[in-house]
């Protein structure tokens, strides 16, 4: 690997760590690794009124090949996600977040349904999301190291639950539910660096802007500008070797040589540690302004 590429990757990981420090990622939006995963950990959100809200969480995610293809076979990328949470004092617990996406590819999302209690989202429907990928570093033959960006948008609908809030008269009152069309703009960078054949460091940074336009009695617009980041360490537990040795014979000399080809099958990985965070620079949608999540987990993934 070239010196400049190493510098770029190092810089990006550093940026990932820095970005992860104050904040927390709400979604497991890594769409570059398809598979199944279970993880558990804690999260802490800073609320607008200044309080810190700690929670324990357990999350299950899975990608399935469910959508039939005309002529035979099934499309991969149907994504299911369920996150349960409990406040650490043993109080309220339940489903914090649930997501079902008919297609959740890295460049295309179709019919993505989501419920998020902490964001007061009873139902969010992303009808279509398009992400244009761009590769900053990495190649097919050494896919353990890469930096891949995506920029795109999503179009959909959101149903925000009305919450208790101070009205203009400073009197605490119940807001009505808010139904709105949504437009989201996203820019995201994902990086992976193979520390050894089996140990990999991943990080990401994401900026997103969500605009809702709808009605809660009169026409209203709400928006949110969010920055996210995260860094995680993954260890490959799979028994078989991470690569194959492929023999070649020189056509003139008959000399035999070998090349290494990565084993691309699904692999069992232990997520040793995952630290993510988010900060909302503007947010009309919920009470949180920032947060941090720390988890560990295990899963089978490509």
């Amino acid at each position: 690997m070239s010196r400049s590429l190493k510098l770029v990757l190092c810089w990006m990981f550093l940026a990932g760590v820095v970005a992860a420090t104050p904040v927390l990622a709400d979604e497991r939006t890594d769409s570059l690794h398809e598979g199944y995963q279970a993880e558990a950990g804690v999260r802490a959100d800073r609320l607008k009124e200044g309080a810190i809200q700690p929670q324990g969480i357990v999350a299950l995610t899975g990608d399935f090949a469910l959508v039939p293809i005309p002529g035979g076979g099934r499309l991969n990328g149907t994504h299911l996600e369920l996150e349960l949470s409990s406040d650490l004092t043993g109080g309220a617990s339940g489903v914090r977040r649930a997501q079902v996406a008919l297609l959740n590819w890295s460049h295309l999302r179709v019919l993505n349904l989501e419920h998020n209690r902490d964001e007061n989202t009873l139902l969010a429907v992303e009808a279509l999301g398009v992400r244009v990928p761009f590769v900053l570093a990495g190649d097919y033959l050494a896919a353990g190291n890469y930096s891949i960006g995506h920029a795109g948008f999503g179009l959909g609908y959101q149903w925000q639950e009305g919450v208790q809030a101070r009205q203009k008269s400073s009197v605490l009152g119940q807001q009505p539910d808010f139904h709105a069309g949504s437009v989201e703009l996203v820019c995201r960078l994902d990086h992976q660096r193979a520390v050894t054949d089996r140990l990999a460091l991943r990080s990401y940074q994401e900026a997103s802007y969500l605009a809702l336009m709808g009605a809660d009695g009169g026409f209203e617009g709400r928006d949110r500008l969010r920055l996210e980041g995260g860094v995680s360490l993954h260890y490959d537990l799979t028994e078989r070797a991470p690569y194959r040795l492929v023999k070649r014979t020189h056509p003139a000399t008959g000399e035999v040589s070998t090349i290494r080809v990565d084993d691309e099958g699904m692999r069992l990985r232990w997520k040793l540690l995952d630290v993510r965070g988010q900060v909302d620079l503007t947010d009309d949608l919920d009470r949180r302004t920032a947060g941090v999540i720390v988890t560990s987990g295990i899963g089978g993934e490509f």
Partner: protein
């Protein structure tokens, strides 16, 4: 096998009798000779298939016989790529556990599959496509032979398909020309149907054209380049063949056809008796230039148009010409040679490639000019886009605009084909996410590099 061979011999005798009784013209005589050649090749192929299948154990033969009656029933009759996923899953499920330990047994298994199908052309093409698919996804080494050897086997099967298809075109051409002569030159009825020659512009391409113009609203050069790319591609409704007009013109150019014929003979020689020449760095490119009398533009034009689209020109253009009675022996030979050149260039490039010290892939150099080498195997991308770059340069585009045109086209193509890459790789149990993106980006690079080289070559030739 006897049935298939017998049927082919009877076909040949029948064809001969029909032509004799009809009083064949000189052109038809030439066609009849070609039909005999194809017939002979197919007969040889049947024998070799039987030899290849011979090493397979009885247990595996039984499994394959059952597959052809069950999960792979359409293997013998349906070679549409849409079936590929289904075929792959069936092969993987039933054969992988049995053949994983044996070296070279996959070759025998594909041969046995063809035998079980009575050597049907579709079974040849399906076997070739299965190997191709493994190669595209860096799995060909798991077949138990070296990758270059796997490609030779692939080409053996593809040649069976191409020979069979060419023979069909001979029958069609002769039938059409006789109908025409019998009807005082009236066009045959079949030609009225929609085909490559009668198709209008591809409607879906309009969207890309408009998008290109919108994205370049402030850049006149960019707008004109996008428009020029669309015109040069000549996308036609219902067709996957590009550069249609150039292809038709090339088929009328004796010098280009002569060059292609010479290249085909060289490719044959490198595949066999002169294999050791593959050890020479950039040796293939040097020889191609010799054959073209130093005309780089000719090398890029002929290989970029006729040898960068698999057998599609043979199937689409060949069929359209034959329906009209316009397929000459020279054109048929060129279409057939172009189809096989696509595969042989790839196989030879793979065999000649260098093993790098970092063991990461291989370095392809043989058919590229001395200043260029790549770790991307898609030589047809380089030549195909070389032709695009050439055409853009001849319209006055400089390197920057050539790069922009080729890169924009490649990005649109790679983005669209991610929808195919992800699901098919997942079905094969391969990474459906990161690698298709990385590969797509590498393809964009090789496309751009080919286009720039082609542009410079044609600019220099035009001066």
């Amino acid at each position: 096998m006897f049935n298939a061979l017998g049927a082919r011999i009877i076909f040949c005798i029948f064809l001969g009798l029909v032509l004799r009784s009809a009083g064949v013209q000189a052109a038809d005589t030439c066609m009849l000779e070609m039909a005999t050649q194809y017939q002979s090749r197919l007969a040889d192929r049947d024998q070799r298939v039987a030899q290849m299948a011979g090493s397979l154990a009885a247990g595996e033969r039984k499994v394959i016989a059952d597959l052809v009656k069950g999960d792979l029933k359409s293997w013998c009759t349906d070679a549409s790529p849409a079936r590929a996923l289904t075929y792959w899953k069936a092969l993987e499920k039933k054969l992988t556990p049995r053949l994983s330990e044996g070296r070279g047994e996959w070759t025998a298994a594909f041969a046995e599959l063809s035998q079980a199908c009575g050597s049907s052309p579709e079974s040849f093409r399906n076997a070739a496509f299965a190997i191709d698919w493994m190669y595209w996804n860096r799995q060909a080494d798991t077949l138990g032979v070296e990758v270059a050897d796997a490609l030779d086997i692939r080409d053996f099967f593809y040649e069976g398909w191409v020979s069979w298809y060419s023979r069909q075109l001979v029958s069609r051409q002769i039938g059409a020309s006789q109908t025409q002569s019998g009807q005082s030159g009236e066009p045959c009825a079949a030609a009225a149907d929609r085909d490559f020659l009668s198709a209008g512009p591809m409607r879906e391409a309009d969207f890309l054209r408009v998008l290109g113009v919108v994205l370049n609203v402030l850049d006149r050069g960019g707008r004109e380049t996008v428009r020029a790319v669309a015109e040069e591609l000549d996308l036609r409704d219902g067709s996957i063949v590009i550069y249609g007009q150039d292809l038709l013109e090339l088929l009328e150019s004796p010098k280009d056809l002569e060059f292609l014929n010479a290249v085909s003979q060289e490719l044959e020689a490198w595949s066999g008796p002169r294999r050791s020449e593959l050890g020479r760095l950039h040796g293939g490119w040097a020889r191609l230039l010799e054959l073209a009398d130093g005309d780089q533009a000719r090398v890029i034009r002929v290989l970029g148009v006729l040898a960068s689209m698999r057998y599609w020109p043979l199937e689409e253009v060949g069929t359209a010409l034959a329906r009209r009675g316009q397929l000459t022996c020279e054109k048929l030979k060129a279409l057939e040679q172009g189809a096989m050149a696509y595969f042989r260039l790839n196989a030879l490039d793979e065999r000649a490639a260098l093993t790098p010290s970092d063991q990461k892939g291989v370095i392809y150099h043989y058919f590229y000019p001395p200043e260029y080498s790549t770790r991307d195997w898609k030589i047809y991308h380089w030549f195909g886009n070389g032709h695009l770059g050439c055409k853009l340069a001849l319209r006055g585009a400089d390197d920057r605009l050539v790069k922009y045109g080729a890169r924009s086209l490649a990005q649109a193509y790679e983005f669209a084909t991610l929808n195919l890459g992800g699901p098919s790789r997942k079905a094969m149990g391969l990474d459906p996410r990161v690698r298709p993106l990385l590969e797509g980006w590498e393809d964009i690079d090789i496309n751009t590099e080919g286009a720039i080289y082609g542009g410079r070559a044609c600019r220099a030739a035009a001066e």
